[in-house]
Symmetry: C2
Subunit: 228 residues, 2 copies
Amino acid sequence: MSSALPGGARPEDLTAPAKIRSAAIAHLARDGFQKANLRAIAADAGVSAGLIFHHFGSKKGLLTACDERVLGVLTERARTAGRASGSGLHDLHRAYVSDPEDYRVHVQYMARAIAEDTPAAERFVATLVEESEEIFRAGAADGSMRESSDPRALAVLNVLISQALLTMPPPLARALGAERLGPEVLARMAVPALELFTRGLYTDDTLLEAARDAWASARPASSRKTED
Amino acid sequence: MSSALPGGARPEDLTAPAKIRSAAIAHLARDGFQKANLRAIAADAGVSAGLIFHHFGSKKGLLTACDERVLGVLTERARTAGRASGSGLHDLHRAYVSDPEDYRVHVQYMARAIAEDTPAAERFVATLVEESEEIFRAGAADGSMRESSDPRALAVLNVLISQALLTMPPPLARALGAERLGPEVLARMAVPALELFTRGLYTDDTLLEAARDAWASARPASSRKTED
DNA sequence: CCCGCGGCTGAACATGTGGTTAGTGTACTG
DNA sequence: CAGTACACTAACCACATGTTCAGCCGCGGG
């Protein structure tokens, strides 16, 4: 519940805007922007609904404040413990499993923001894709990863997969016998995911070649650059 | 052209319930269940809002009817042109790119249903996961795919990735220079995806081993505390 | 020609939600 | 101590949306 409390502060110690923002981030992460209910957020924060407007002006204003907050926390976290370990995928997993509730909420929030095309979504994906692409280029350079014909698209794919895994909808989690997504499900899913990422799945190139042909012929002539 | 019209019928020829259902499927695929607006659906179908209740009883009833319809169409389509080609991933891609608008709407609908945990979502994922797992087992048996340590989890991963690709949110599509998801974006994404699926990405096993250890130590019995 | 019946409409109703505002208490300031 | 400023609340409003309902319209049967 308490998201991103600085120091050892408990919710009662925070200022009202901070309490509202924390509660709002939790609600937005769980329900998305449109379904989120301002009165429920206010109740969770222990204040009245009117106070939200007193401090944030509107629901949109609150959303923007939360966007800013989550973006800041996430990029901060990425900067400190960030790219030391290698892949963004693996990174996200480990952080998700090991970190406190906090991180889960923020990642969920980010996924919601991207799914609903929030103003901050652009910056979220820009950061994520940029960082992924950088990692892939570096990995290819130092030999720890295979060269990709389209690092940018690979980066987008990586972000997509990471996000999908971290926000796995309950029906899919139930297909694994769990009630919903949790550390256990994620740990289990990480195995085939990493198997895929280290050994691949197909033993021949036919599908890959088909995809390359499809892309080559589907691509408009204007955007042609150096081919793979 | 429009969604699931039998024969060459145009919308004006359909019965009112069918028109409503078609319009509803389109709206539900685009907006999800909770955001979908009955008056807008009615307007699109060229009828009054009241008629929806006359025929379907409630919004939920309409949802159920749409679920049934989409499930039927999708399984039908899967049965006819289904598993002949190989991978569910590749399959979905090709169908998406080649098929008329129709298919896109139905896939989007399914993704929405799963994301929102609709009653029909269970059956959707059951079908998809079952089919994927079957394909992977068969592929491993005939040597066209590598053996997986957890075919079930791999199947779930495959469904997850396919769904994520087919419902890529606009911000991620924009990271590739496109306005939103379309055949071109999908064709481009298919290349690194298939590269990943045939060659893998990492050149060593360290991350894979780490994931295996994590999973092995994270699954003692059934319900264990999430912290370790 | 009238009757009735079922598809269908349009307006009304109920509820929930974003947004506003008047007023209250409180803490700081002169 | 008086006053002011500000955080805060409760009641209220406007509006969207699911839902209901009384009735209209067109058509087939007496």
